[in-house]
């Protein structure tokens, strides 16, 4: 950590440190998480990203990547307990974002990303968990972080996820009778909606 | 019938054998026609004024196109548009109440003009209890608004109607109480007589300039505020508050029926201003009127002009206030009415009574 000033897109070092600290704390309290750190530093040598892109296209894997470090929680069933621990023990009082992600139509899992913010220590923490596409159940954290309420509703209608224990699992942005889950990669655009054909 | 110049004119021009009841009927009909015409023109002018004043207050121009000079005929065009629009009555609405409400509202506004003393000899009827008549007729509007709100079968309209009911009944009290100081001062309920009593000092012995000015001025402000609330003008436009209730009691109205509500607002504004003019600002009296001989034709003309100018000035102030202030909330409107204006009006009434009694004892 010799860089004097953070890059113009914000403090990356604070973030990396925070994730490492959180990883140690959460592991110490007995949860199974893994620390995922990028293979590529944020300032990559010139041309490297193009090489990577080519390699990735040829090999078709998602193994090499750049970006923020995060924590991966392999067991989604532990989610609520981990969230309680993150809030109570680590002081991340705000859940600033919760989003699903479908990497490709062939992927077996859907990813769900949780972003936490510690206002007093000015840290961010990203937690990622995965659910199999044929199972789709995961616990709701809306009781721990009320902010998750609407985010979970949105993720559930967009990806078909089912958040067990959500207080109000109605559709939020889409009509109640919308078929399919639009943000999935295998989503097929409907020919019509309610008898109205797509122009 | 001595104040009614129409019956004067008629009795002069009709054959001598014409029956009295016919004369009265004809006079009433012509008078009503005059009132309707006058109110319509007045409302058109006031709406145009409101738009221009609002425009310039908001650093813009207001209507500029229709009719050439500063869009003078914009409201005329709007009136024609409203007249030719489809008259929609909702299937769920109460047809009787829905139809009756605009007529009642408009009728009450027009009736107010019957007792206003415009100029010497220009008054349709001088009633002994002129102010009582005005207050009574003005409160008919409330009933019309409640009918409109209930008959529309729309929840927003109903809210507007209920607000109007609460607000109008509350503000009647400070409104009536604030009229008591001038009534005590002039010792009459008749607007004509009150106006005539203010003609002294070369036409400048207005109530607010009289020896009782220290009760006259606060009572004038009270009356003005209560009249704003009574006429549903901002900051008391709760019954139609467009950012809360869409358009309140007239949400479902269109075309001519909507035009009636629109017209009524401006007619009532003018009527309230006219009462304030007659009681506080000297009515038709203007400085320099003593130079005119009593029989001169200029006296009614200039008198009417003075009266109209004073009343229109107050209307403009109402417009000015509307485009300055935010709206109160309904409970704050009630608080203001009951906890601020009513006690103040009572205090001023007592002060005025004491002052008049002391003056009478001299």
């Amino acid at each position: 950590m010799t860089v004097a000033r953070d890059a113009c897109w914000g403090p990356a070092q604070v973030h990396a440190l925070a994730v490492r600290e959180a990883f140690e704390a959460i592991t110490a309290s007995g949860f199974l998480v893994t620390l995922e750190e990028p293979d590529l530093p944020l300032h990559a040598p010139e041309g490297e990203s193009k090489d990577l892109a080519r390699r990735r296209k040829q090999e078709g894997d998602l193994s090499v990547w750049r970006g923020d470090p995060y924590l991966l929680l392999p067991e989604a069933s532990q989610l609520v307990d981990v969230c309680v621990s993150i809030r109570e023990d680590l002081g991340f009082s705000m859940l600033y974002d919760l989003a699903g992600c479908d990497l490709s139509a062939d992927a077996a899992n859907l990813q769900i990303v949780y972003g936490f913010l510690n206002l007093s220590r000015k840290q961010r923490l990203v937690l990622l968990t995965e659910v199999a596409k044929d199972q789709l159940h995961l616990p709701s954290v809306a009781k721990v972080f009320p902010a998750a309420d609407w985010h979970e509703r949105e993720a559930s209608e967009m990806y078909g996820l089912i958040f067990d224990g959500h207080p109000d699992p109605r559709a939020l942005l889409l009509p109640e009778d919308w078929e399919g889950f639009p943000l999935r990669k295998d989503y097929v655009f409907p020919e019509e909606y309610g008898g109205i054909p797509w122009a | 019938m001595d104040g009614n110049f129409i019956s004067h004119l008629l009795s002069a021009s009709l054959p001598p054998g014409f029956p009295f009841w016919g004369l009265a009927l004809l006079a009433a009909f012509l008078g009503a026609l005059c009132v309707v015409g006058f109110v319509s023109i007045l409302a058109l002018v006031s709406v145009w004024l409101e738009r221009k004043i609002a425009g310039h207050i908001q650093a813009r121009l207001g209507p500029m196109r229709t009719g050439g000079w500063h869009g003078w005929s914009q409201t005329l065009a709007d009136a024609i548009k409203l007249l030719t629009k489809e008259d929609v009555i909702l299937r769920g609405a109460d047809p009787v109440l829905f139809r009756l409400a605009p007529a009642l509202v408009m009728g009450s506004a027009l009736a107010m003009f019957a007792v206003l003393p415009f100029a010497p000899g220009v008054q349709f009827a001088d009633i002994d209890l002129g102010v009582y008549f005005l207050l009574a007729v003005a409160s008919l509007t409330t009933i019309g608004v409640i009918m409109a709100g209930w008959g529309s079968n729309n929840k927003w309209s109903l809210y507007g109607a209920m607000r109007e009911a609460a607000q109008a009944t509350s503000y009647e009290i400070p409104l009536a109480l604030s009229l008591i100081p001038p009534i005590l001062h002039f010792g009459t309920f008749s607007l004509l007589s009150a106006t005539e009593q203010q003609s002294g000092w070369g036409g400048m012995q207005w109530y607010i300039f009289s020896d009782a000015f220290w009760v006259a001025i606060p009572s004038f402000f009270l009356f003005f505020t209560a009249a704003l609330a009574e006429n549903k003008r901002a900051p008391f436009d709760l019954p139609e508050s467009e950012s809360e209730l869409v358009a309140g009691f007239h949400t479902e109205y269109s075309g001519l029926r909507f035009a009636f509500f629109f017209l009524e607002e401006y007619a009532a504004m003018f009527a309230a201003s006219a009462v304030a003019t007659a009681y506080w600002l000297g009515g038709w009296n203007f400085p320099g009127m003593t130079f005119l001989s009593t029989g001169s034709l200029w006296l009614p003309i200039l008198g009417a002009l003075a009266f109209l100018l004073k009343a229109m000035f107050l209307v403009c102030v109402m417009i000015w206030i509307r485009w300055t202030l935010p709206r109160l909330r309904i409970d704050q409107v009630m608080t203001l009415g009951w906890k601020y204006l009513t006690p103040l009006a009572l205090g001023i009434m007592v002060a005025a009574a004491g002052w008049e009694a002391w003056r009478a004892s001299l």
Partner: protein, 165 residues
């Protein structure tokens, strides 16, 4: 009524009156100032040199490379031309303003700097079909081009004849 309650009552009243008067002074001042709005069709606003209005095309520069169409996020540019050697016979260069969001992303990738956004902005029409605008100033081949093509053809024929010999 305690004295503090009364003073609060009095303060509320005076605050209301004073702040209303202050507000009315501000509105009156603006009332007396000159309005800032302009009467639009009579007075045209100054759009500045970079205004992103309806596109225009410098057709003689265009090389039919499709860069603008590829850069368009909404795929609203369509072009059609036949190449006669170096010369282009233009059939269509349409921009669908039903979709276009005037983002200027088509302007930057152009290698010849031939597509621009002008100062015209009024897109009023009664028919949606009118929103699909053809940016071409001429269609087909100009006389000059025809001559050039003919020359090239002649040259080619000559060469072919020469080659045949």
């Amino acid at each position: 009524m305690t004295s503090s309650a009364f003073s609060r009552w009095w303060r509320n009243l005076s605050d209301g009156v004073i702040s209303t008067a202050r507000g009315m002074r501000i509105t009156l001042r603006t009332f007396l100032r000159k309005p800032v709005t302009v009467q639009y069709p009579d007075e045209k606003p100054d759009l500045g040199g970079r205004y992103r209005g309806i596109h225009y095309l410098e057709q003689d520069l265009c090389i039919y490379c499709d860069a603008c169409a590829k850069a368009c996020p909404v795929d609203c540019i369509e072009m059609d031309a036949t190449r006669h050697g170096k010369e282009l016979e233009w059939h269509a260069f349409t921009l669908d303003y039903n979709r276009c969001m005037l983002c200027e992303l088509c302007v930057y990738p152009c290698p010849k700097d031939c597509i621009h956004q002008g100062e015209e902005y009024a897109l009023v029409t009664e028919d949606r079909e009118d929103m699909v605008r053809d940016l071409l100033t001429w269609k087909g081949l100009t006389e000059e081009q025809k001559q050039k093509v003919a020359e090239v053809e002649a040259l080619k024929a000559q060469r072919a004849a020469g080659g045949g010999e």
